[in-house]
């Protein structure tokens, strides 16, 4: 019901814009549907809700439609000084927590080369969302850990990345790469093959052409190799390669989002 309300509001705004704007600047009205995957670039807005630690809200206006989205759920949160690439799926959810149409799952990539004027809204009656520990988190060393039991299987692990970055995203990518490296060490894998991918095929988002640089594929693979080295896996058993024009994958870490699934590293762990 609330989702429909927001779509109605968005549509009304768009119609008004379309009427007011000159014909050549008219924006084709696009109103998002529940389940639709959206991708846009915008300047983020911080709403200063306070329901305890990490409870502030992040909003992003999709300028093409005028819809204000709640993008708080992204593992990477925005930096209010920079534009963000937002990729997410529209769901019906509680818009009263932050004041935007909910995207879930959602990924935010900070575009450091595009500056924004920082903007903060007061809570304005929105409650914010109480923090709960993401399910994808690395457990402390002092907690007991179950080791894999033989016979060991060959396994592939996909590590997701933000757009344009080789940083291992906290409480998302680290969860997957930690699993991969520990598996390789636990089973004393004979070989690990790392393939780094970059989404080098150009796409147009919010009027901008986006493409990842080709060298990013190798940099991502090298980060994975460094994880193996630091955690004690012998590097002479590691093979590394890079692949551009990354294709869509079904990796778990992308949560079904299309474009984020291209940005990855795959570790193939061979017993």
């Amino acid at each position: 019901m609330q989702g429909r309300f927001w779509r109605f509001v968005a549509a009304a705004v768009l119609v008004n814009v379309a009427v007011a704007a000159p014909a050549e600047q008219q924006i084709k009205p696009v109103v998002e549907q529940v389940g639709e995957e959206v991708r846009f670039i915008t300047c983020p807005i911080y709403r200063d809700t306070d329901a305890g630690r990490k409870s502030g809200c992040w909003l992003g206006d999709r300028r093409e439609t005028g819809t204000r989205f709640d993008i708080t759920g992204s593992p990477t949160k925005p930096d209010w000084n920079h534009a963000v690439l937002v990729e997410g799926r529209v769901v019906e959810g509680d818009t009263q927590q932050c004041g935007g149409v909910l995207l879930e799952p959602v990924r935010v990539s900070v575009l450091h080369d595009q500056n924004c004027t920082r903007h903060m809204l007061p809570a304005e009656g929105f409650t914010g969302r109480r923090f709960s520990l993401p399910t994808r988190n690395i457990r402390p060393l002092y907690e007991p850990r179950e080791l894999p039991k033989p016979p060991y299987q060959e396994k592939s692990f996909d590590i997701p990345f933000d757009f344009g970055r080789d940083y291992i995203v906290y409480q998302l990518s680290d969860y997957y790469i930690d699993k991969a490296v520990k598996y390789a060490i636990d089973i004393d894998a004979s070989r690990v093959e790392i393939t780094g991918y970059a989404a080098t095929t150009p796409t147009t988002v919010s009027g901008q052409t986006l493409r990842e640089p080709a060298e990013l594929a190798l940099r991502r693979a090298e980060v994975a190799r460094e994880w193996l080295r630091r955690m004690g896996y012998p590097l002479d058993r590691v093979k590394i390669r890079a692949q551009t024009k990354a294709k869509v994958s079904d990796m778990e870490g992308a949560d079904g989002l299309t474009e984020p699934s291209r940005r990855r590293v795959t570790l193939r762990v061979i017993p």
């Binding site: 911080y46 200063d48 809700t49 306070d50 305890g52 630690r53 990490k54 409870s55 502030g56 992040w58 593992p75 990477t76 949160k77 925005p78 930096d79 209010w80 000084n81 450091h112 903060m120 520990l133 690395i138 402390p140 060393l141 002092y142 940083y167 291992i168 995203v169 906290y170 409480q171 990518s173 680290d174 930690d178 490296v181 980060v223 460094e226 994880w227 630091r230 955690m231 004690g232």
Partner: protein, 494 residues
């Protein structure tokens, strides 16, 4: 009869001496004194009493390499890690030593106890940073070298904008020299509770997006929490570094010396034991004081286990009728401060190591315990290189007595400061050579604070209140007077 007279005279002498001495005369431990380090030692300070515990009993320090002078300056490790000062060194002790022993005391050795070694030794002005701010000179090679000694190509340039000590532009000691160094000025860190400092709670450094750093000697991971700028990663490396840079001891410490120092350092625990009213901090159900530290497991994350400073939670309702109202009020204040530390949120912005690159967002709403997250210690369980702004403009308080450097990033700009940065101490960037690390300083233990003012890496907070007030300004927190008082009372009880 004669005995009575003697006792009376002694009493008069003791009373007279007590009146003549400052309220908290420091028990100075000079190099090579050969005392016995007791299993339990209490030292008064303005906030109450600090206790130092030595696990497994007393230690005869005669011939012990932590206590005996090494090198030409006559210094020992204990010179700058005084038991009465929570195994760090307070400004009060430094001044007392200047008054009682003067410039000839090894503490004021020109190599780092003067603003620059080539200043006239013995003149007060030559030692002003130590005497006025408790700061020692730390000379870092430029460009930096990695932990294995290999040169790093930095992604930023350093220019000296202001050089009040003359050391950074000195042709002998500064950047123009044949052996270029950057001189920064820092407080000594406490050599106590080290099992917490060295503990590894998690296998990763989320601030780098990588697993923990590796000790170049052993290839094993280490906590990354040992030094302000993480320039060395292990106690052994720290011993060699300190022996060279602070003691002037250029021979290698022997394995036996290292083992003895290590053994001692890992046995020392310290914390405030009594508050200013003489109330024990482990009374009434509370678990303050060092005994708990010695017995607890280190490296635990407060948010997933024992809440940070929850050892004072039993005092939230201090209904013990045997306690005076004044003591009860102080207990309640300490407990409120502890809860505030854990729960009072504020907006944290533009702090590298927090707002980037972790993905927490810039800004984010969180609490003191976000970074000070280790149970019972208040350090960061992960390697804690965070930029609070204490050394870097525009957030740093005015520090005209310190050098000011202009950092120009050659690659990507700093995520919060941009391409050109002005800083009194680049911190972690002097180790990594990365512009993005400018201003990041490793969080340290919050234990024994009452005994070791001033605070922050560069001693800019003279009192615990000034610490709270800095945070209040830096993050526009808006603490009430009561909240400030509670936090000060908490910190004075750690």
């Amino acid at each position: 009869m004669q005995g009575v007279v003697v006792r009376a005279l002694l009493t008069v002498m003791v009373v007279t001496m007590a009146l003549a001495m400052p309220a908290y005369a420091r028990d100075w431990w000079g190099a090579g004194e050969g005392r016995v380090f007791p299993a339990v030692a209490d030292f008064p300070n303005e906030h109450g009493t600090l206790r130092v515990l030595l696990q497994d009993g007393p230690l005869d320090t005669r011939g012990h390499p932590f206590f005996e002078p090494l090198g030409p300056h006559g210094r020992a490790c204990v010179t700058c890690h005084q038991p009465a000062d929570a195994m760090s060194l307070s400004l009060a002790s430094i001044r007392q030593q200047w008054q009682t022993a003067g410039a000839r005391d090894p503490l004021f050795a020109p190599i780092d106890g003067a603003n620059c070694p080539d200043l006239p030794h013995g003149e007060r002005d030559s030692h002003s940073l130590l005497l006025d701010h408790g700061l020692f000179r730390i000379a870092r090679p430029w460009p930096p070298r990695d932990h294995a000694g290999k040169a790093i190509k930095p992604d930023f340039d350093v220019d000296v904008i202001h050089d009040p000590t003359g050391c950074n532009l000195s042709p002998r000691w500064g950047l123009p020299s044949d052996d270029p160094h950057v001189s920064v000025y820092r407080r000594p860190r406490p050599v106590a509770n080290l099992k917490y400092v060295l503990a590894m709670g998690f296998a990763i450094d989320g601030k780098r997006g990588l697993p923990l750093p590796l000790d170049p000697d052993t290839g094993k991971p280490v906590s990354g929490n040992l030094m302000a700028d993480s320039r060395v990663l292990t106690l052994k490396a720290q011993m060699h570094d300190a022996a060279r840079s602070h003691l002037g001891f250029f021979e290698r410490l022997t394995p036996a010396q290292i083992e003895r120092i290590n053994d001692f350092e890992m046995r020392v625990f310290t914390a405030q034991q009594q508050n200013r009213l003489g109330d024990s901090l482990d009374a009434g159900g509370a678990e303050g004081g060092p005994a708990k530290l010695a017995d607890s497991e280190p490296g635990r994350l407060g948010s997933q286990g024992i809440g940070v400073w929850s050892e004072f939670a039993p005092w939230e309702r201090a209904d013990d009728s045997s306690v005076t109202p004044e003591r009860r009020a102080l207990r309640e204040s300490i407990a409120r401060g502890a809860r505030s530390f854990r729960e009072r949120t504020f907006l944290i912005a533009d702090s590298r190591g927090v707002n980037s690159p972790m993905g927490f967002g810039n800004p984010m709403r969180d609490r003191c315990a976000l970074c000070h997250n280790m149970s019972q210690m208040g350090m960061d369980v992960a390697p804690g290189q965070v930029d609070l702004g204490t050394t870097t403009q525009p957030f740093a308080d005015q520090q005209p007595h310190l050098p000011l450097f202009r950092i120009t990033c050659k690659g990507e700009p700093h995520p919060h400061y941009g391409r050109v940065i002005h800083t009194h101490d680049p911190g972690y960037a002097l180790t990594t050579g990365r512009c993005a690390d400018v201003g990041r300083i490793t969080l340290q233990s919050l234990r024994g604070l009452a005994a070791r003012a001033p605070y922050f890496v560069n001693g800019t907070a003279s009192t615990l209140r000034e610490v709270v007030e800095y945070y209040d300004r830096r993050y526009s927190i808006g603490y009430t007077e009561q909240e400030i008082e509670d936090l000060v009372n908490l910190m004075s009880a750690l």
